[in-house]
């Protein structure tokens, strides 16, 4: 049994998990390797898809997979019939243990002793190697990365690059041990060592085990993609071939497989195609074998897949083609690596499938380690709504195990707007002695963190709750506004403030009110509005999220307005994208209309109002694009236009669309990771030469401004509304 797996099986506590994250954060090589990869991947993926309609291609893959999953049973039946006619032994394993037993039996009955394997995540999923080794069989991984992690008694840290967490020096030391000869840390030479060492293994092997990327029912053909060509040797030299394949890999014809194969390698590593794609239909010629043909087995693995396929919410999980892209773009993966962001399956998809394949005890901590930035969703080759499903799993685990007190209280408080707002007002009084003199963006700061925060949260200064929340200032402001006469307003809007702007940054809303007045826009502020519900959803409190959604729908029900404008991208994205889903069974039409009216401030001012340019100071201004704005709401250009229209100079930064690490409860749960993501972000802004950083979400302002102050960086952070 793999060492680290044994450790993890003992139900790791959240504290132990965080310790593991801290260790990873302190691993300089890992950090550099992950960082270089994150940056390089963006370019290579872009180049690989150059001139192609990537969204349409992904859409096609999603449809192919969704359709195949619906018809899974028929495809399995058809494949089995064809494959049997072709002379293949076909097995169906219901559980991981069944699959292990079937493969172990094949090895023993055939008198096999030596086994070579090509890379298979499915084999990792069922922990096949320890099972076979326990039977006294020698199993050798032949994919270079897999061989390295096997020799180190580890699991892979990425689905297609298993040893990405290791340096050439670590590999050289390992190969020195394996060969008994000192090996230089020169990559080309190390690769040659593997070539030589593994060649012997192929020659002596009785049995080759592979996975498959595609199982084509129409002809009973499997397709295997590799770069190294190891699967070719594994399916050519040994006299027995066993392919272990998840039933989710079934497709009707080779055409669908070719369509997926057009996306998979580009999305995985930015390659147009892998060096080899091998299509095997039935036992091929094998001269030393009985009858001159290889003995070939296919073991189809269910292991919960049929149950997932039948689940209306989670069926789309099976649209995964195992490209690993969700890890490649994940800001958390970039900081901590795959061993910390997955159990067997890595990245966003791993956060979800761990629950199904390896139990909630292994998913419980993992599933919380998500900033909900949505980067994974935008690159997923299977078009899976990954962030949403991560939250669903989180909620499901809490429903099954009981909700932690912290999250339960939050849910209870949020459900009751009056109680929530009273708490915030009381907290304002309690924090009084802590208020720092005015600093930075003009917001008072807490001199010391309240006792409920531990020391590790001290990586950014936190703002104080405002003396008078926006909701208490609105009427007066609006009166002035109205006095300027709005007989024929250009537009009628209602404002959705969200809690942070209402109670912490009312000045951001006030700045917007001035802009609205100038543009002759009539504004209403329904007092019944509450928290948008995203924090509850992030904490796995789905029921509370639904309750506040319904309250908000009621609050805005009688507003006859053209738009509902929000200055908080997170609220905006949640209200537009998640709210209709939450209340689907309660108020679908109302929710659809409400969601349709939601518009972020930047888009409203730039596109609807068409605000004119004003003279300004021409400051070099970077933009932090909130995850929920650029990905959640698909708004990218409007804020940059507004920066230039404000008389400042928009400066592009490399990490403009990378998460700031706030993620609401994420930064509270994983402060150390949040801090590192934040530092990376601020360093990138500083490198651009900008001294003004603008964003469009109060949560991001809180994180970025607090971090810039704490780190003593010469960057002023403000909300877009404050530019005018």
């Amino acid at each position: 049994m793999k060492k680290d797996k044994v450790k993890k099986d003992k139900e790791e506590s959240l504290k132990e998990y965080k310790d593991r994250l801290d260790t990873a954060l302190g691993n300089t090589f890992l950090r550099t390797a992950m960082d270089n990869f994150a940056v390089a991947y963006r370019t290579s993926r872009k180049n690989a898809f150059a001139g192609m309609d990537v969204d349409a291609m992904i859409q096609e893959v999603a449809e192919i997979k969704a359709h195949a999953i619906k018809n899974n049973e028929a495809l399995l039946e058809e494949f089995t019939r064809k494959a049997k006619a072709n002379g293949i032994h076909v097995h169906l394993a219901e559980t991981a243990e069944d699959a292990n037993r079937i493969i172990g039996d094949i090895a023993q009955k055939s008198g096999s002793k030596y086994i070579v394997k090509s890379k298979s995540m499915t084999a990792e999923e069922i922990h096949l190697n320890p099972w076979l080794e326990n039977l006294g069989l020698e199993v050798t991984e032949t994919d270079l990365g897999e061989w390295i992690v096997q020799l180190r008694h580890e699991g892979p840290s990425h689905m297609v690059m298993p040893a990405i967490h290791l340096s050439r020096f670590q590999v050289a030391d390992l190969f020195t041990d394996v060969t008994g000869t000192a090996q230089d840390a020169e990559i080309e030479r190390l690769v040659k060592v593997a070539r030589r060492q593994l060649r012997k293994k192929y020659i002596e092997a009785d049995m080759g085990i592979t996975g498959a990327n595609y199982a084509v029912a129409g002809t009973g053909t499997i397709g295997i993609a590799t770069n190294e060509g190891n699967a070719r040797l594994c399916t050519t030299l040994p006299r027995i071939h066993v392919a272990l394949i998840g039933i989710d890999k079934l497709l009707p014809t080779i055409k669908e497989a070719l369509s997926i194969n057009r996306v998979l390698p580009k999305n995985a590593t930015g390659q147009a195609i892998t060096s080899y794609v091998t299509w095997i239909t039935g036992p091929s010629e094998c001269k030393p074998a009985k009858g001159g043909k290889r003995e070939m087995h296919i073991v189809f693995l269910d292991n919960g897949r049929k149950k997932i396929a039948a689940d209306p919410v989670f069926a789309q999980v099976l649209q995964c083609v195992r490209c690993g892209a969700c890890a490649n773009v994940c800001p958390v993966y970039r900081m901590v690596g795959g061993h910390q962001l997955g159990y067997v399956y890595i990245g966003a998809i791993g956060l979800i499938t761990t629950y199904f394949f390896h139990g909630r005890e292994n998913a419980r901590n993992l599933v919380q380690n998500c900033t909900n930035c949505g980067a994974c969703k935008t690159v997923c080759a299977g078009g899976i709504e990954l962030p949403k499903l991560i939250k669903e799993i989180h909620a499901r685990i809490q429903d099954e195990e009981g909700h932690p007190l912290k999250s339960l209280l939050l849910g209870k408080v949020l459900k009751n707007r009056k109680l929530f707002h009273t708490l915030l007002r009381t907290a304002k009084l309690a924090q009084k002695p802590l208020i720092h003199k005015k600093e930075g963006g003009g917001t008072p700061y807490l001199r010391h963190l309240p006792m409920i925060f531990s020391k590790e949260h001290n990586f950014r200064v936190l703002p104080a709750i405002a003396k008078i929340p926006f909701r208490d200032r609105f009427e007066q402001m609006n009166q002035v506004h109205k006095n300027q006469a709005l007989k024929n307003p250009s537009h009628k809007i209602a404002l959705f403030s969200g809690c942070v702007q209402d109670f912490v940054y009312p000045e951001q809303l006030e700045a917007a009110m001035k802009s609205f007045a100038k543009a002759n826009v009539s504004v209403s502020f329904p007092m019944g509005q509450s928290c948008c519900g995203l924090p509850a959803q992030m904490m796995g409190e789905k029921e509370a999220a639904r309750d506040v959604a319904l309250q908000n729908l009621a609050a805005f029900e009688n507003e006859e307005v053209d738009y509902i404008v929000t200055l908080c991208a997170s609220c905006g994205s949640h209200l537009k994208n998640s709210l209709p889903d939450l209340v689907r069974e309660y108020a679908p039409e109302k929710a659809a209309q409400f969601a349709k009216n939601i518009i972020p401030f930047s888009q409203f001012m730039n596109k609807v109002v068409g605000v004119k340019s004003i003279p300004g100071k021409g400051r070099k201004t970077a933009f932090h694009s909130p995850c929920h704005l650029c990905r959640g709401l698909g708004v990218k250009q409007a804020p940059k236009d507004l920066i230039n229209k404000s008389g400042n100079l928009y400066v592009k930064t490399l990490e403009e669309e990378t998460c700031c690490g706030f993620g609401g409860s994420f930064s509270a749960n994983f402060p150390a990771v949040s801090q590192e993501i934040l530092t990376k972000k601020l360093a990138d802004v500083e490198a651009s030469g900008a001294d003004l950083l603008v964003t469009e979400c109060p949560g991001c302002v809180m994180q970025l401004r607090g971090g810039a102050l704490k780190q003593g960086r010469d960057i002023q952070v403000i909300h877009l509304s404050e530019l005018f």
Partner: protein, 189 residues
């Protein structure tokens, strides 16, 4: 994608080119420390080994004659399993080319054909220009014909055997060929 491409006017000149490349390459470095059961001919003969299992009889005999005359190369087409340490060159006629990705499609149903493209240091693939298709999807009927055979083993080959598993640095020849050479036979022939 790590392949050298030459245009040649016909099959005969393709084979001449292969011969020339084989003579010019460094001798094969055996991957077996000791010659397995003493049967690996590589260790006994100081000749370069070229395998051309899917040439037809006439072409094979012609090539074999030239190889012998050269005194440097031994041409084989059978029992490639006896060369676990590797061979210098595998020469194969390939069935199709796919323009979009620079991919070769090779019917590898025969074990010897397969091994010749896996155990060699240099794989020389001979492709008629007329057999080039735009994309894999545009030739799905032709591919279907290839794969539907009950013991079909169809290979897509794009470049040499490669890995980036150590520090994401590209390295060639981790298991199979160190290099791929494509000889394009002109359409007019």
């Amino acid at each position: 994608m790590s392949a050298r491409v030459y245009r040649v006017k016909d099959l005969a000149s393709a084979l001449d080119k292969a011969l020339e490349l084989c003579k010019a390459k460094l001798p094969c470095e055996s991957q077996m420390e000791t010659d397995l059961e003493g049967t690996d001919p590589m260790s006994k003969e100081k000749l370069r080994i070229m395998a051309a299992p899917n040439l037809d009889e006439v072409d094979f005999i012609r090539l074999d004659k030239v190889c012998r005359e050269s005194g440097e190369i031994r041409l084989i087409r059978e029992n490639l399993r006896a060369y676990p340490g590797g061979i210098d060159m595998g020469v194969t006629l390939v069935d199709f080319g796919i323009a979009e990705t620079g991919t070769l499609v090779l019917n590898s149903n025969s074990e010897e054909t397969r091994l010749s493209t896996m155990l060699c240091e240099t794989h020389v693939a001979i492709l008629e220009e007329l057999k080039i298709r735009e994309t894999a999807l545009s030739m799905d009927d032709e591919l279907n014909e290839l794969v539907k055979h009950p013991s079909s083993y169809t290979a897509f080959i794009t470049g040499a055997s490669r890995t980036a598993d150590i520090e994401r640095v590209l390295a060639l020849g981790v298991h199979g060929p160190l290099e791929l050479v494509i000889l394009l036979v002109e359409a007019s022939s």
